[in-house]
């Protein structure tokens, strides 16, 4: 690990990003009455949880984490990621609260066009139901501004109204680090402590800190087929059609989300250092490489965010 990860002296930017994130996380604990941390088991949320633990620690003595861990399970998540999520939540001694899209479907609040339709957009409904039932007034998540155009304008403390909606015109001005989270009952705040991190920063930090991730993030052999220029994993949710040529190649996931819309990149990067090297020269963005649904329309993320999506 020490061979390719730059020495401490060269990682001033990681220390500054870490300090900024920890200050934000502590601010959430100080200001929100019922804060939660969105933990999916993905790499950004693993980094966020790691930072939250460092924020509440006296040397080797971990203080109780003042956040509930929250996850919206579409029912279409990779089993190994769910297992990782449960194991880490137990390891850090946190309460994990899971909202289920399948429960929303059963309740009738979510309707899908067909059984195999992507449940990615439906997550917003379940998330808002989970927020309401838990009474959460502050939700931290690992979203970053470098991910996507409409995220580039996102605040660190992002205001959501009583319908969970994001309105770019109602966002609060943020002067220096003077962030404030007070909201009326029913409204809530979403907080993005990793706002200023890039994908490469995240990987460098994972390497520096030795943060554990699900194995899907590293190169492995998998059956895939190609669609719209993307590598689709062969699964019961994404079956090959008759003219799809299925092949078995070395791949890894750059993002891990709902099975029905998360794609792969061809890669032989089996270690953090190799992933860092690959990320540094990547020619396609993280979402561009791996999301079937984001390409649908230029403004698709912005529209979904307005509806309460993360």
């Amino acid at each position: 690990m020490s061979a390719t990860v730059p020495a401490m002296a060269e990682q001033g930017h990681l220390l500054r990003l870490e300090a900024e994130s920890i200050e934000i996380i502590r601010e959430v604990a100080a200001q929100c009455l019922r804060p939660a941390l969105l933990f999916s088991g993905g790499k950004d949320s693993a980094v966020l949880l790691h930072l939250a633990r460092k924020a509440f620690c006296l040397g080797e003595h971990a203080l109780p984490l003042p956040f509930t861990l929250l996850h919206v399970d579409t029912g279409h998540n990779f089993p190994e990621v769910i297992a990782f999520r449960d194991r880490i939540a137990a390891q850090v001694g946190a309460t994990l609260c899971v909202g289920s899209v399948e429960a929303s479907i059963a309740r009738g609040s979510v309707r899908l066009e067909h059984a195999l339709a992507s449940r990615n957009a439906a997550q917003a409904v379940t998330l808002l139901e989970t927020i309401a039932s838990g009474g959460f007034d502050g939700l931290m998540a690992g979203a970053r501004r470098d991910e996507e155009k409409s995220r580039a304008k996102e605040r660190i403390f992002s205001f959501r109204d009583a319908f969970g909606q994001w309105d770019p015109r109602r966002q609060r001005p943020e002067l220096l680090n003077l962030l404030h989270a007070s909201v009326a009952p029913g409204e809530h705040m979403r907080i993005f402590p990793l706002s200023n991190w890039t994908e490469l920063d995240v990987w460098e930090y994972i390497g520096r800190e030795g943060i554990e991730l699900p194995g899907l993030y590293f190169a492995h052999l998998r059956k895939v087929f190609r669609r719209q220029g993307l590598l689709v994993p062969l699964s019961h949710l994404t079956p090959a059609e008759h003219n799809d040529a299925v092949e078995e190649i070395m791949v890894r996931f750059r993002t891990v989300g709902d099975i029905s819309c998360t794609c792969l990149v061809a890669s032989t990067a089996a270690t953090v250092e190799e992933v860092i090297a690959e990320t540094a020269v990547a020619s396609v963005t993280e979402r561009g490489a791996t999301r079937l649904d984001d390409q649908t329309s230029e403004a698709s993320m912005e529209r979904r965010k307005r509806e309460g999506y993360f």
Partner: protein, 507 residues
């Protein structure tokens, strides 16, 4: 690799978006799917004449912005050069979005101000810069960015005419002198052709200075932009962010204070004083968050699931250990219980008395040409010797951010560092006319985007400095606690006086 924060100010017409697109393109921060999305994006603005990529489209994020062809909100961009990691805040230039420029600029180390060389007035020999340039410069000056660089854009449209550039450069020199801005470069660029942005201009051989990125890569920037203070200098200032009453376990009850050291350093054995209560204590232990050693704690963990081991508080013999410096998030344990809450502040010296800091000259807001009082920064040595001062009345520059106007009858909340106190605005001393760049004290209403100077009475003291001395200790926001809105950004000009009954008593 260090991190440098930039802000660009300029309107769409000045070629700001194209400049940013060019910077990202040259830094290879644009990836192939982003470039192909540019050709998918529908946009009212036309693709440049020679059918190159419209680099400006990269930065216009929101649907409403693309429809109107303007930038409304601040967008953040990330890129790396060979030597630095950059965060660029792309702020709107229109007057009606002044507040977005103010908040975007508050976090920046360096401001980039664009001047469109092809503006008819400038090309024809006008003797003043566009009003918008004056306004942007004045705002960035108000926010005390450590460096301001002027970029003369669209040089391709005036055929890289050296005469026009020299004329603009002379106007910039005059503006710098008027506003008391230390010297810095004025760089001719064509973002469209790539001249002078990352690489030196091949079409302007008469220009011998650095390209924009060469200049930025070579800048040295203090951490957290505390002017004149290196990370290790100055008396300790530690605002308490979170006070944990029950940080220990049943055998070892413990209070811990979480926060980020704002100035100076902290070490075990150090004597500290709580501002406000005046109580003294010694630092028993200080734990930098970055050095936390995380171990599994729950039943799934690999370590011994037995009761949590005792907290390793260093004994007196262990002292002194390495001091922990400013800008570091820490957890602090004191040697005795004292009255200390979120919003309180720990220092290594008692707060300054009003006499010791009264000598500071009035700060340099935009003033009439020829005034000289604001051309010199107060010397850093003074900042070293003094601590924040207890303030119950402030004179402050402000930018009003909310759509609902200032109401002098109402009580608001003021947030300064981690402290929240009740305040009233007692008087508006003047508002800035953005056309003439002069303050008028005619009783003008204060609404969205108004910049001015007001007087505030605080119900409880804050421990502050002027904004010119310290951005972190001189900035505040006003909050409407009923509507939960952020109303105004404030920059302290002067700490007016201390009421006798609130005067800090040195036990």
């Amino acid at each position: 690799m260090e991190l440098l924060r930039l802000i660009t100010a300029g309107s769409v017409d000045d070629g700001k978006s194209t400049l940013i697109g060019r910077i990202l393109f040259d830094a290879r921060a644009l990836q192939s799917d982003q470039l192909s999305a540019l050709s998918r994006a529908r946009h009212a603005r036309t693709i440049s004449a020679d059918a190159q990529l419209d680099l400006a489209l990269i930065t216009d994020g929101l649907e409403s912005e693309r429809e109107q062809g303007i930038t409304i909100d601040v967008a953040y961009r990330y890129f790396r050069s060979a030597v630095r990691r950059y965060i660029l805040a792309d702020a709107p230039g229109h007057e009606q979005y002044t507040r977005n420029l103010v908040t975007g600029a508050s976090q920046a180390d360096v401001g980039i101000i664009l001047i469109d060389a092809s503006k008819p007035g400038l090309a024809a020999g006008s003797d003043s810069l566009p009003a918008q340039t004056l306004r942007h410069t004045a705002i960035l000056r108000l926010l005390r960015l450590s460096h301001l660089v002027f970029v003369v854009s669209k040089m391709d449209l005036i055929a890289f005419d050296e005469g026009v550039f020299k004329r603009i450069e002379a106007l910039v020199q005059r503006l710098r002198a008027d506003l008391g801005i230390e010297s810095g470069p004025c760089i001719p660029v064509s973002a469209l052709l790539g001249d002078g942005v990352t690489y030196p201009s091949i079409r302007a051989p008469w220009y011998r200075g650095p390209s924009l990125m060469q200049y930025l890569d070579a800048l040295s920037i203090p951490q957290r932009a505390e002017p004149g203070l290196a990370r290790r200098d100055g008396a300790l200032v530690f605002p308490v962010q979170v006070a944990l009453r029950h940080a220990g376990n049943s055998q070892q009850p413990l209070r811990a204070y979480l926060g980020t050291i704002l100035r100076g350093c902290m070490f075990p054995g150090q004597e500290v004083v709580a501002y406000g209560s005046g109580a003294y204590a010694r630092v028993k232990a200080v734990y930098p968050a970055s050095k936390s050693r995380l171990q599994p704690t729950g039943p799934g963990g690999a370590s011994d699931p037995a009761p949590t081991p005792g907290i390793p508080i260093p004994s007196d013999q262990d002292r002194p250990s390495n001091p922990i410096h400013a800008a570091t998030p820490v957890a602090v344990v004191l040697d005795r219980p004292i009255d200390l809450e979120r919003g309180d502040m720990l220092g290594s010296q008692p707060p300054a008395t009003p006499e010791s800091s009264r000598a500071a000259p009035p700060p340099g807001a935009p003033q009439a040409p020829g005034s000289s009082a604001n051309t010199t920064e107060p010397h850093a040595l003074r900042a070293l010797a003094t601590s924040p001062e207890a303030a119950t009345e402030l004179l402050a520059d402000f930018c009003w951010l909310d759509n609902q106007p200032l109401d002098l009858r109402r009580r608001y909340a003021l947030r300064h560092t981690t402290r929240l106190v009740k305040v009233m605005v007692t008087a508006v001393e003047g508002t800035l006319n953005l056309e003439t760049m002069r303050y008028s004290n005619a009783g003008k209403a204060v609404g969205a985007n108004t910049i001015g100077v007001f007087r505030i009475a605080l119900q409880q003291p804050i421990f502050a400095e002027t904004f010119r001395k310290s951005r972190a200790l001189g900035a505040f926001v006003l909050i409407d606690e009923v509507r939960h809105r952020t109303l105004a950004a404030g920059m302290i000009r002067e700490i007016v006086r201390i009421r006798d009954d609130d005067r800090f008593e040195n036990g």
